[in-house]
Amino acid sequence: MPPFHCTRHSDKTVAFLPLVAVAQNFQTGRAATVTSAYSPWMLATRVFRLVGNRALSTSICLRGGHGVAKVEDYTLPAYFDRRESPLPDIKFVQQLSPDQKSLKEKEKGSWAALSKEEKIALYRISFKESFAEMDKGTGEWKSVVAGIFFFIGFTGLVVLWQRNYVYGDVPHTFDPEYKQKEVQRMLDMRINPVEGFSAKWDYENNAWKK
């Protein structure tokens, strides 16, 4: 950690520059040590230096340089592709390769001079997916339907096994001979003779009506 120098800035215009650097760093969304020369510690201490003009008691000096919380990743602006928010807070690609940097310089000139590939490259620097890509379906439904069919099939197997190994025999009243006697008895009793059961039996010829 660089030592914190408790110097006071009386010149406000000079003190403004670090604030701009702070603002720019927060805009790029990464106050981490990788991309910028300003560590979060230094960023915060510079901010404190600006406001510490009036009250030394609130400055970091008094706290021995331990007044600043570590900047957590999740607190920084994030990138996300959303239909309802077309321009995200940060660009998708944060660390630019030298090619990309030179392309960004070229972007400052006439856009008509850029080739189609360069324009697409610029788009991909700023954005991860185009609207068409972010809106397209995932095909997840196929997995879901396949899973449904699989488990229904599996359940069928379980039911078959149950029939075989779990359930006992059906009662004797299901035997064909018994059923025959049952039907004969119903016909003898003239069950539903008008429109139902017995109405369909031809008593003359001892057969079902055709």
Partner: protein, 137 residues
């Protein structure tokens, strides 16, 4: 052919068919109701700020897209010119994508907007998503 009414399907704008200055004739909300022209003028002024910064552009666009309407071509032109001032071609293309997305099922809106913006697009050298092929996934 396409009046303000077609492009703006906002529920509180369905009433204002005329271009006269608005009077609180309906009492469904407090105070004077902003006309379509005033709304447009306000947004054009917002994007026409000469020293607009990237945050303001993003905030303006995200807010505008949040409304229940497709922005008028003149607002979009001001936004595209703001992108030019900020040297941000990607955002300009994104804005066009967002307009097409915003039209939803009304497929005739996007070609109309492109037709109106054609001079600006040619002048600034902004390609449409279709020209770049990023309109297909």
């Amino acid at each position: 052919m396409f009046s303000h009414v077609l492009l703006k399907v906002s529920s509180d704008r369905l009433w204002s068919f005329s271009s006269t200055a608005s009077v609180a004739a309906r009492s469904y909300s407090h105070g004077k109701q902003e006309t379509d022209e005033e709304f447009d003028a306000r947004w054009v002024t917002y994007f026409n700020k000469p020293d607009i910064d990237a945050w303001e552009l993003r905030k303006g666009m995200n807010t505008l897209i949040g409304y229940d309407l497709v922005p008028e071509p003149k607002i979009l032109e001001a936004a595209l010119r703001a992108c030019r001032r900020l040297n941000d071609l990607a955002s300009a293309i994104r804005i066009l994508e967002a307009v097409k997305d915003k039209s939803g099922p009304h497929k005739e809106i996007y070609p109309y907007v492109l037709q109106e913006l054609r001079p600006t697009l040619s002048e600034l050298g902004i390609p449409t998503p279709e020209e770049l092929g990023i309109d297909k996934a």
